[in-house]
């Protein structure tokens, strides 16, 4: 009698709680259980994000900056279209860091030269002021 109880328990535990979302996720879990490193054939790059920080203590993002991602050969390109600025790297994280650096540099350069900005750069400076605040 006790033997039967144990068997029922094992069967219940082996049931998955929910179906896996996709094959890559499934493979990841199988490999994780077997202690293998998982190398995905799929490159999971989001189409866009809202950037809420520039990793620079001097300034603060008050309105998130929309960033679009594209792939160009081996590079990931992160583009802040409204600021006409971009960053790139071997992966999404590197591209974001490069873009953050570029936007920060753009902010301080335009701030320094704001009295002599042309029409287009004045427009970008106005957008930057809406989105970024100096601490």
């Amino acid at each position: 009698m006790p033997r039967t109880d144990i068997k029922v328990q094992i069967q219940k535990e082996s049931q998955p709680l929910a179906p896996f979302r996709d094959e890559a996720n499934n493979q990841y879990l199988i490999d994780a259980l077997k202690g293998r490193n998982y190398h995905s054939q799929k490159i999971m790059t989001p189409d866009n994000i809202l950037l809420g920080t520039l990793r620079d203590g001097r300034i603060r993002v008050i309105t998130p900056i929309k960033v679009n991602f594209t792939r160009e050969g081996k590079h990931v390109i992160a583009e802040a279209v409204e600021l006409d600025e971009f960053g790139f790297g071997d992966n999404t994280s590197e591209a974001i860091v490069d873009l953050q650096r570029a936007i920060t540099e753009l902010y301080f350069n335009l701030d320094k030269e704001r009295s002599r900005l042309g029409i287009d750069l004045k427009r970008i400076w106005d957008i930057l002021q809406e989105k970024i605040l100096k601490r």
Binding site: E85, A102, G118
Partner: protein, 88 residues
């Protein structure tokens, strides 16, 4: 279309962009004391990523950039392009 680092350098030199080294090569175009356009390229040689964005920052279309690389547009031609786009 593609643009190589040395071609980028040639174009900004021909258009007389001012440059500054800050990890990347920063370049900006001044006209009558105003800063009209700016762009940048990463260090290193070879083909540049983000050519589309570089072209956008320089306010050129594909044909114009191609002509600029071939050196058939000079600073005066570039000023004319910016003027036509209402940026001056």
């Amino acid at each position: 279309m593609t643009i190589k680092a040395h071609e980028f350098d040639r174009v900004i030199s021909k258009f007389k962009f001012k440059t500054r080294d800050s990890g990347d090569l920063l370049a900006w175009f001044e006209y009558k004391g105003k800063i009209i356009a700016r762009t940048r390229r990463s260090k290193g040689s070879g083909e540049l990523p983000m050519q589309h964005s570089i072209r956008q920052q320089m306010k050129l279309n594909e044909d114009q950039l191609r002509e600029a690389i071939k050196c058939t547009i000079n600073r005066q031609g570039y000023i004319r392009i910016l003027h036509e786009k209402g940026l001056l």
